[in-house]
Amino acid sequence: MTDSQALLAVRATSLYRQKMLWALGIGLIVLFWISLLLGRYPAPGLISLERLMNDELAARLVFQLRLPRLLSALFLGMSLSAAGLVFQLLFGNPLVEPGFLGVSQGAAFGAALSIVFFSSKAVVVQTNAALFALAGLGLSYLLARRLRYGGWILRLILAGIAISAFFSAGVGLLKALADPLSQLPEITFWLLGGLASLTWQKFFSILPLSISGLAVLLLYRWRLNVLSLSDETAFSLGTAPHRERAFLIVAAVLPTAALISVAGMVGWVGLIVPHLARRLFGAEARFSLPGAMLIGGWFVIFCDNLARTLLNGEIPLGILTSLIGAVTFLALLSVQGRQWQR
């Protein structure tokens, strides 16, 4: 193959991936607007534009409840997926998910602690969850520095597992202490995850962390590949691997912590979507990162639509993302089985 042919092939691949990103992005916008009209008022199905103009209740429903909820679903999907992809890259492990460094269990502990001892008011629960999510990350980091076993990556993973177990034991204890009639159902519901309580106020409270974290990750999208190499190699390529990775891990955790604090434990998104993105866009993060964000948006909006419209009552979102995520995961494993072998 001559250079010009190879260059043409590179251009074609990159053009194809760009087109796919555009298609996913435009599709996501369409899905978003359809979802806004989709619901169970006045009857299951799409609300007509005419009714939206004339029916004040319909307008309030759409703009005060559905719109902030949908925007949160979009950011939840984008944040968890981007953080998952970045974590999998930086830890060189396709099985890590964004909450594993003590973040998810820390948030759960914070929320449960607030419900049992302080207050079930949304803003208190959210603040506590966010604080403990970051505390989980901080503790994992400090513990990893103390460990005397394995390389830095392995130490962080081990520390994350230990801190998560510590917090999850704490959640168990709080459940046992909780009032079974009032507090326990609230904890359980929080742990199942969902966006039913999302308001504009909550949405705006997560927006700054979410947007700044995602922006940093997107700006670093090519350098992420370099930082995924071993310490010495990344260093030989002119990077400061420890410092830059720590910075990117924080940039990935902040949006995750913010979203978990309002949405609870929404599992599997950060694990499965990066796999889908790499199937479609290849491993190179220049394309797989924006790809994962768009697919994540699709996935959570789709699951949340089911959560709020399928039954008369709300189905917890975390149950649907886990169910659909697990089915997708199995399908991926059997269809593309060859690719997964070492």
């Binding site: 060189g92 700006l219 670093y220 030989s236 390529l237 002119g238 070492r342």
Partner: protein
């Protein structure tokens, strides 16, 4: 063109230990890497070869002594300058994800790009040139995980060449390779030297040393035991002293080879 034996990099009385109070891994090591030549760091396992290579890279810092590059201490180069001056070919590298060979080799452009930069078509052309230099341009669009061990080693060399370095560091490049791939790798290194590259590699394979080295540095227990040309430093007596086993170096059809006794 610079003089043939102009120094490229030199160690001056360099000592190193991993932690204060721990035993010295390297003690007062001095040597010079001549430009456009192959220098091989040779010695038994655990003698400090890789440590010395990482000191050269700047990844580890000397406890005492100075490493000089072009009359400047290595420590005064910034990260990007260092990445353009020398490139590392690690012993092996586990790749978790399905990168194409070209995407992977393009990572070598990092020291030439700003922090948030991305490679453009000029960089792609340089990466393709590097793949051609090691003879695997036909693999450019394959998944790196589908390659054999020998091919992967060549990909790592191509990535290092994409850095357009003046000095190439190779850490035991033949350690995991079979005979055919070892031969192929030796040919690639020879060709790079012919094109003017300065090469510094570690090896514990005497046949590779005999096939490639202009200069050999023999390390034993953290000290330079012998250094010089093959004739000066790589003799049967020296190897017997290093390994405490009976062996000799004999010439067969004018080519030196190692023989057990």
């Amino acid at each position: 063109m610079a003089a043939l034996n102009e120094p490229c990099l030199s160690f001056e009385q360099v000592s190193f230990r991993y932690e204060t109070g721990a035993q010295r891994v390297l003690a007062e090591v001095s040597f010079t890497l001549p430009a456009h030549q192959v220098t091989i760091l040779f010695g038994p396992n655990g003698c400090g070869k890789t440590t010395l290579l990482y000191l050269t890279l700047g990844w580890l810092q000397a406890e005492k002594g100075t490493i000089w590059v072009d009359g400047r201490p290595l420590a005064s180069l910034n990260r990007r300058e260092r990445g353009r001056f020398m490139a590392l070919v690690p012993q092996s590298e586990y790749v978790s994800f399905e990168y194409s060979v070209l995407e992977y080799v393009l990572l070598g452009r990092a020291p030439h790009l700003p922090n948030l930069g991305e490679p453009g078509e000029g960089d792609v052309a340089i990466a393709l040139g590097a793949l051609r230099r090691v003879g695997i341009e036909h693999l450019a669009h394959q998944s790196i995980r589908a390659l054999s061990g020998g091919e992967r080693q060549l990909v790592l060399i191509a990535r290092a060449l994409t850095q357009q370095p003046r000095l190439l560091l190779l850490d035991e490049p033949t350690a995991h390779l079979d005979l055919q791939n070892t031969y192929r790798l030796v040919e690639v290194v020879r060709e790079l030297k012919r094109q003017g590259m300065t090469i510094f590699m570690t090896s514990h394979d005497p046949q590779v040393v005999l096939a490639l080295a202009d200069q050999v540095i023999i390390l034993r227990q953290g000290k330079v035991f012998r250094q010089g040309t093959l004739d000066e430093a790589f003799t049967g007596e020296v190897l017997q002293a290093v390994y405490s086993i009976p062996l000799q170096i004999v010439a067969v059809d004018g080519k030196k080879t190692l023989q057990w006794l």
